[in-house]
Symmetry: C2
Subunit: 283 residues, 2 copies
């Protein structure tokens, strides 16, 4: 077992199984050949060829595109082809801060292999006995990754909300962190990956934050999505990542990024460069 | 002017101007077509085709390859075709920690577009008035980048020395930092880039370290390569990077990485993702 196995999971996908999803000539996602054939049923919205799926060029602006795609997705929802509907829109873009081409129901994002964005917070406690990390155990009835180990706070980045705003909102909902405390979280970089999951092709950028929490703070989940929280020494966290896949697949990357920034993995480690390169997608 | 211009300089090269330099089927560098033709004069060492330059397969091991290439380079040194001879060997490999295919005089590394490794140290002082960074001004008679602004400590990574060892050695030579203090430096990640410079194709990985220095420490250069040191507020450092190219080309990347890790550039900045992506080479 090794860190590199955790990274490999986040980079595992078969390019031959997909064709690009393009809008106005730009590749904004990737769809399976099977899903592409399904989209042939909606020729006013999608132009499907053997090689690509393109949003119909008549759909010229953000609002028109968003409404037309939504109609298709609602039909696929009714037929059970887009499960786990969230009623939450994601922007469709390649780089956060660009003008999105449209907005799209979150549940459909991996079906279109569209880039998803998220925020993950390393909740740290620095004490006499070294550095510890708050680890959440996801509720067993959660639809994705039930029972897996997770960050104290992590969430998807919906359309219309800034990253810093979203972090503060999620910190309140997931761990009961007051806004004034959450606002002290420091953005420290990002990780990115592309991999096949049950829900489709995940092509994600996760913005990473560190927050040093006072020793007397205890997280309290507000939304029922967390079974329990525990404070772990960093060495235990890293051993668990190295030896098991108990952490949710993408949480491993954010914690490995933390370990690199803290010098807990150093350049003379023979795996160093491969770990470091593996935390970011090669375009 | 913007951070992105500093990054663009470190990514500027013309792939069409080069052919791969391969050993045993692996691409370990890139040579200009002109230099490839020059290497045709050494058919016992290099097999040159229109598409590649390959190390002669008869040269089967590290010692044989290193000695054969050294003979060629000494001849090119005598004819002035490999200037700035250093008498310092670099390992030839793609990932630090791999077994090198051979070792090669440092001055020749960019002629072969072979990956170079280095260490850069952010020398930080945390005080009542915020975070400051020690900035060196390179001596005006230095062969590369005379007069440019630089890190307190930065150096190439020679064959046969660990990264942590090299940092401690360079810290002593360049800034008079005692070994016990330098050993507290924390490895915090890396940056990578590929770009054309006067000396050839630079394809580098720089290991980045942070060291918090006591307020009463003053660096003292031991090797004549630094004209002066000064302690700058981080905001001034970043403004200078944004508005000028006064810093040595690759130092900009290491300081931008520092700024991302410190949250001085945040995800809601529209350039964030492009800056973050730009600090690492896409393979």
């Amino acid at each position: 077992m090794s860190y590199l196995e955790r990274i490999a999971v986040c980079r595992h996908w078969n390019p031959g199984g997909y064709r690009p999803f393009t809008i106005d000539g730009a590749v904004l996602g990737r769809v399976t050949h099977g899903f592409a054939r399904r989209l042939e049923a909606f020729p006013k919205v999608f132009t499907v060829s053997d090689r690509t799926v393109t949003l119909a060029p008549e759909l010229g602006d953000f609002e028109t595109r968003s409404a037309a795609v939504r109609e298709v997705l609602l039909e696929l929802k009714r037929s059970g082809e887009v499960p786990l509907w969230r009623d939450e829109d994601y922007p469709v873009l390649r780089r956060w801060g660009e003008a999105p081409a449209l907005k799209m129901e979150r549940a459909a994002v991996p079906r279109f292999g569209v880039r998803g964005f998220g925020v993950h917070l390393n909740g740290l406690v620095r004490g006499a006995d070294g550095l510890r990390l708050w680890v959440a155990k996801r509720a067993r009835d959660k639809q994705t990754a039930p029972g897996k180990l997770d960050h104290i706070v992590a969430g998807g980045q919906p359309y219309g909300l800034g990253v810093a705003e979203n972090l503060i909102k999620e910190a309140q909902e997931e761990a009961g962190i007051p806004a004034a405390l959450a606002a002290k979280a420091v953005p420290v970089g990002a990780v990115s990956y592309r991999c096949e999951r049950r829900e489709g092709l995940r092509d994600d950028v996760l913005f990473c934050y560190d927050l040093e929490l006072p020793e007397d703070f205890t997280p309290a989940n507000q939304d029922g999505e967390v079974e329990s929280f525990a404070l772990w020494p960093m060495e235990e966290v890293l051993a668990r990542i190295r030896d098991t896949d108990d952490f949710k697949f993408n949480v491993n990357l954010v914690i490995l990024d933390l370990a690199l920034r803290l010098g807990l993995i150093a350049p003379d480690d023979p795996d160093y460069q491969e770990i470091w390169e593996g935390l970011r997608l090669s375009q």
